[in-house]
């Protein structure tokens, strides 16, 4: 036994070696030992696994882990909330004992976050708003990813298209997306699909460029040429060499585009081109709250939606970045 696997038993092995040496006797000690080829090769090995190291690196980032749990809890809760007992309909107006709407009530046992200026329950509205904003954000992220990846693969793979699309990209990239957003929102009737459409049409471009660059790397980087030379199929190269990197960074882009989409929704609502009042969204809520911003006791109508918005956006941002850092092999130390 020339190598010890566990340093803790070195002492034991040492004493065993000593004992063995006494046992074996000098003559035998200095005679030729049997040689085994497997032993020679046994020595250098590494049990590195990309995904395992990625998750381990991510787990170490306790802030991101905590936020991930928080975010998942919020996600689950937004969809479960309407089915819990004692919940109000976000659009229903509650009337007080005198028959008039309960306007601008501070938080109490019935209305957990209070009511807004027309008597609707704020707690229900906040969760409805979060639900809709999340739907918008996630839909936009998914659509951007779908279109972007498709275009990106074509762009990178089909050599003839490369020049055309690259020039096109250079131009499209410089178009102020906010202006397009404003115009498109104005043209189509305000609504969920409008916003999702408006946000997606400018966002896929970045994803496409990124995917295209990665596809180019399939063809051109040495380690992929080496893999191809060794006979690896394109599928294998894509899944073993490219996909690990691709998936993690696509997820990063998606994770970052969600806060962006939610933010754009707030912006567009402020301008007056957002969702109609009946559809609750964080943008609407913040806008309504803004009007009451200046009076200290009504401020809560702005603050509660803002808090949940900030938690959601910051969580996506941090988790996205932490995951992308963890997925970088240089950090697998």
């Amino acid at each position: 036994m020339s190598l010890i696997k566990n340093p803790r038993i070195k002492k034991l092995e040492d004493s065993v070696s000593e004992a063995l040496k006494q046992e074996i006797g000098e003559k035998k000690l200095f005679s030729l030992a049997p040689f085994s080829e497997e032993q020679a090769e046994l020595t250098g090995s590494s049990d590195y696994s990309y995904w395992r190291s990625t998750f381990r690196a991510f787990r170490r980032h306790w802030v991101a882990m905590g936020l991930l749990i928080l975010l998942l809890a919020i996600l689950v809760f937004t969809f479960v909330q309407p089915y819990l007992p004692g919940q109000f309909d976000p659009n229903a107006i509650t009337n007080g004992e005198n028959g008039l709407p309960l306007k601008n009530q501070p938080a109490d046992a019935v209305h957990w976050l209070g009511t807004n200026s027309i008597g609707q329950d704020l707690w229900a509205r906040v969760w409805a708003g979060t639900r809709n904003s999340l739907i918008i954000g996630i839909s936009v992220a998914l659509i951007e990813a779908a279109i972007g990846i498709l275009v990106g693969i074509l762009w990178g793979y089909v050599r003839q298209l490369d020049f055309l699309l690259t020039e096109l990209y250079n131009i499209l990239d410089n178009i102020p997306t906010t202006i397009v957003l404003i115009l498109v929102s104005f043209l189509l009737r305000p609504g969920m699909t409008t916003i999702i459409f408006a946000l997606s049409i400018t966002g896929w471009i970045g994803m496409a460029r990124f995917v295209r660059n990665q596809v180019l790397i399939i063809r051109d980087r040495d380690y992929n040429v080496a893999s191809r030379t060794l006979g690896a199929s394109t599928w294998r190269i894509m899944t073993r060499n490219l996909l690990p990197y691709l998936v993690s960074v696509i997820m990063l882009r998606m994770a970052l585009s969600i806060p962006g989409a939610i933010g754009s929704e707030v912006f567009i609502t402020y301008i007056g081109l957002g969702l109609p009042i009946e559809v609750c969204s964080l943008g609407n809520l913040i806008n309504e709250g803004r009007k009451l911003m200046m009076s200290p006791n009504l401020r809560y109508q702005l603050i509660y939606p803002t808090i949940i918005l900030s938690i959601v956006t910051v969580s996506f941002y941090i988790i996205g970045n932490a995951f992308s850092d963890a997925a970088d092999p240089r950090n697998h130390l």
Binding site: M1, S2, L3, I4, K21, F30, F35, L42, G44
Partner: protein, 371 residues
């Protein structure tokens, strides 16, 4: 000749993915003032790690866990030395005792300088080569302005760069690989060190340039009275320029001696294997010799002789106890049980006799080429 650097029982560990890598396992080495020492070994043998310790550029996750690096080269400057690491009698500075980066500022450049491996990336792409050389002059010899400029031109001539006044203003990307290497050498010369460490100085270069660079290094060594430490895996370079050779394996120096002793009378089975794998010894139509297996995994404890698993002629004791140094001559020693009087005498491989013959044949012409 006196010692200028003395490494005693140096242990270096790296923390990697939660585990400890024992990269240097008790290295002992004396470097004489004015000599050319070559350190040879495979990738992973620890030769780069050893040399990084001499200028304090060990990676962030590495540290010295035991041992000393005694630097004797400061001479009279020791009297005014205010920094860390000095011994009680004021004879040397222990570089392994340095804790802060500032401690190294007195050593780097002015005492010990290194020429990194890859000249293509070692130069600042956004500064002219003249500026980069002058910076060294400013840092270590207090030269500025016109004086620095003239001295830089002189050094550029020393390293055989043509048209130095025009080249001064050029940027690294305008120069070829060989010229960039000369610029890096110029920077090192400008620092005016006692010891120059060359980390694989010819690996990144074409064969034709290699000879020129080695020749240049020999010249500069003479002119500036440098001590040179070469790190290389190329035995050809070793034969060309070294006075002494240290062979490293698995974080330890397993054999060290004069260059003739190593080439003509090696004693360690690893050295035998290394020399046997010289492509020049191959017969057309026959398989080239290659050492079986791979170097040991230094995350794990090594018992006995690290080379034993790959050595078809290992002794039983090789896997039980590590051999100490056995002296073959005052200048030649090796860590192998084969040199113990109780060990059987084994004949070195046939190939080594060829090395001797080849060497004797070219020795007449080679001797002029070597310093």
């Amino acid at each position: 000749m006196s010692k200028i650097l003395s490494v005693r029982n140096l242990h270096v560990c790296f923390t990697l993915r939660g585990r400890e890598l024992h990269a240097l396992r008790g290295v002992d080495l004396d470097v004489e003032d004015g000599e050319s020492l070559a350190i040879v070994g495979e990738s992973g043998s620890g030769k780069s790690v050893l040399n990084k310790n001499f200028i304090g550029l060990l990676d962030q996750n590495g540290r010295v866990t035991d041992g000393e690096i005694r630097y004797y080269g400061m001479g009279d400057k020791l009297r005014h030395y205010q920094g860390a690491g000095m011994d009680e009698n004021g004879n040397y500075i222990d570089l392994a005792a340095f804790k802060k980066n500032e401690d190294w500022l007195r050593i780097r450049g002015s005492e010990i300088c290194m020429i990194p491996q890859d000249p293509m990336t070692s130069l600042n792409p956004l500064k002219s080569i003249g500026w980069q050389i002058s910076e060294a002059l400013m840092l270590h010899r207090g030269m500025k302005g016109k004086m620095a400029y003239e001295e830089t031109i002189r050094i550029l001539e020393d390293v055989r760069i043509d048209d130095p006044r025009r080249r001064f203003r050029q940027y690294p990307h305008e120069l070829s690989g060989g010229m960039r290497q000369r610029v890096v050498i110029a920077i090192a010369i400008a620092c005016n060190p006692r010891i120059l460490i060359c980390d694989e100085p010819t690996t990144a270069l074409d064969v034709t340039i290699q000879a020129q660079v080695l020749h240049l290094l020999r010249e500069l060594k003479e002119k500036y009275r440098l001590t040179i430490i070469f790190i290389t895996h190329d035995l050809g370079v070793v034969a060309n320029i070294a006075d002494r050779v240290a062979v490293m394996y698995a974080g330890d120096i397993i054999e060290i001696g004069l260059v003739e002793e190593i080439f003509y009378d090696p004693r360690h089975p690893y050295t035998w294997a290394l020399l046997s794998s010289l492509p020049q010894l191959g017969h057309r139509g026959e398989e080239l010799y290659a050492i079986q297996g791979t170097p040991p995994n230094l995350f794990q404890q090594v018992t006995g002789d690290a080379f034993a698993p790959r050595n078809p002629q290992a002794l039983v004791i090789d896997s039980l106890q590590a051999p100490p140094y056995f002296e073959i001559s005052p200048t030649h020693r090796a860590k192998t049980w084969l040199l113990d009087e109780r060990a059987p005498s084994l004949t070195p491989p046939e190939a080594l006799r060829k090395v001797r013959d080849l060497g004797k044949a070219t020795k007449g012409g080679a001797e002029d080429g070597r310093a």
